[in-house]
Symmetry: C2
Subunit: 225 residues, 2 copies
């Protein structure tokens, strides 16, 4: 654990879902303090103890309410179904000022989850930006990583496209991508979050079409310096 | 050249641009009859002769006007800058009924080409569908293949996401993807064209950011049967 991760606490709101649990596991493993948030703190406590068990140790993972997790953290990650996106954001909005917010939400509209149906704001992340206002840095990331990849030791054959309201915020999130054992790319301004969010429907379609369960993407023909 | 390609003529409208020329080259090499269309038939004739020269032979590549190319072909491919998208479609609309239309257009809005700025219809391909009406099958493809990859013999390290108004039309286009020496995926309904079109801005951003010139994508963790 380096000096910086010692100082950082990550809240994973909606962290009792599969994706949130997977990300919380990866960051706890990397030495970050992680607060699992949920509408029900009881459920969050259960998931926190499951992660501690997976890690066979006593990392700093705590289950609590969404508001408590948001209040105690510098970095707030949201991993809820799209139907709960606005409501959850409104419920913690006052606690996010001056902080870094990471939106993992994919705006799927059941039952047609294989068809791209983006919200009027352009993407869920742009909607979050509208709700949270200018005082919050909003970054979109991790939408295409299958939760099956996250809870496990193996490498992950899917890149993370990181888009957001400032280059500095994207750089912060790229560190968290790396800490989670994933490969990330600075993919530009928050408007570009459309790609990763819409790609979720395309990957679900490809999974069904070609008999896979965890299709992903890789950026090709670029060498990182 | 198989039986089927003998029967098919492909029009590449705006085929004097780099992307159109590259695709025309690939299909001519595979044995298709290709008509290069342009507003200026003179320019189209020049590009056709350049392709014949590249292929060191006398394949069936002819330069003509956009309208003439569209009229003589079963498959019409559009590769124009977005600014000319609507105008070109309106100019050939009456000749496309009952045919297969492939939109390669990327809705970039200069000067901010690294920022996703999709049209009100959702994507250029959905805009084409609105313009052309129900009698035309509309498929979106090839938006992310660098023209540098196309004119040359090497493999192409970038997949083609094929989206469109019917599964049959997508299957037809997947054959053309293969004929061009590329790897394609049925990526679902025409609404999903958002991904490949928006990805164009993200790839341009990544090229600038990481010092590349032809970033692409690959779908991972799926085996084609």
């Amino acid at each position: 654990m380096d000096k910086e991760s010692l100082m950082l606490t990550i809240a994973v709101l909606g962290g009792t879902g599969k994706e949130g649990k997977g990300l919380a596991y990866r960051w706890a493993r990397a030495g970050y303090r992680v607060l699992i948030g949920s509408r029900s703190s009881e459920k969050a406590v259960t998931v926190a103890s499951e992660i501690i068990e997976l890690l066979e140790g006593a990392p700093s993972v705590v289950g609590t309410t969404n508001r408590d997790a948001a209040e105690q953290s510098n970095i707030i990650v949201l991993t809820v179904p799209y139907a709960a996106h606005r409501e959850t954001l409104e419920s913690v909005k006052d606690l996010l000022k001056g902080k870094l917010f990471i939106d993992v939400t994919v705006p799927l509209v059941p039952p047609k989850v294989t068809k791209v149906q983006l919200p009027p704001a352009g993407s869920a992340a742009q909607e979050a930006k509208e709700i949270l206002g200018e005082d919050v840095q909003v970054v979109a990331a991790f939408q295409n990583i299958s939760h099956k990849h996250l809870v496990g030791e193996g490498g992950v054959d899917c890149d993370v496209l990181v888009t957001g309201t400032s280059k500095e915020a994207r750089a912060e999130v790229l560190k968290l991508v790396e800490a989670a054992g994933l490969n990330g790319w600075d993919a530009g301004p928050i408007e570009n979050s459309v790609v990763a969010e819409a790609l979720a429907s395309v990957l679900i379609y490809i999974n069904k079409q070609y008999g896979s369960t965890h299709a992903g993407i890789k950026i090709t023909s670029v060498d990182k310096k």
